[in-house]
Symmetry: C2
Subunit: 148 residues, 2 copies
């Protein structure tokens, strides 16, 4: 479905699609509040039984996330359909100690966006999951369009 | 430069590199605090005279950003070198009314990640800019490595 309108078309995604998209990419961005000021940084993630598991380097940012509300975002662009998409998970992050060895055993992310000698594992229990797909105005498509 | 070590190698980037990377991608993620809870969403951006200009749909998230501290993040992955990178700008966002028409005239982002009939333009005046480049353990490279 292509659009020639001036404004792009937005579609809210069902939760099942959100989970599929969350599984489709290895890296997302974790937003936290540190002393009331927002911060955001890329992290590796996995979907695990209805939760988001993050593995990052230890640090003040992670301390800010542990047991606090967080927002986690993934996005992408499908060139075949000229559709951008994004999914945002909001919930509370909690550090997980025992899971660490399990994740190591699984050789979880081999894409350590966050570096550090003592990786920390956080699990986000979602309060809400929202996703949207946006038909991009002027975006290129794999099929011919009638755009000028 | 490839690495075979267990941990990835992180390099802090000079500010000039951060600006170049900010210019290199059309979409970043804006993190805000709404009633003390973090939120994050993808937005189009431009670099303009040492500031970040965002164009998004109007909404509560934008209202939360206007005249408040925000964090803005871009990231990417260079397959040639197996290096991931990210840049985070922190500062205060302010809505810009008169710039709107200028941006429209420039046909600014043709990639409206955020949709809406009344696009809002925000300008982030940076307080800090930080960037890192990370040699990814196990990342694929365009040149042969000695990894097993």
């Amino acid at each position: 479905m292509n659009t020639t309108s001036e404004h792009s078309q937005t579609t809210d995604l069902p939760v099942s699609d959100c989970w599929a998209l969350l599984r489709s990419v290895p890296v997302g961005r974790l937003a936290v509040s540190v002393d009331g000021r927002p911060d955001v940084f890329p992290v590796n993630h996995l979907v695990d039984h209805g939760t988001i598991v993050l593995r990052t380097g230890a640090g003040t940012k992670l301390a800010a996330a542990d047991r606090h509300p967080v927002a986690f975002e993934v996005d992408g662009y499908d060139a075949d359909s000229a559709q951008a998409w994004s999914v945002v998970v909001k919930g509370t992050a909690r550090s997980v100690e025992r899971l660490h060895e399990v994740l190591d055993a699984l050789q979880l992310p081999v894409f350590p966006w966050q570096d550090g000698p003592k990786p920390t594992v956080l699990r986000i229990e979602p309060d809400s999951i929202t996703g949207r797909r946006i038909q991009v105005s002027g975006g290129y498509t794999a099929t011919p369009t009638h755009n000028a």
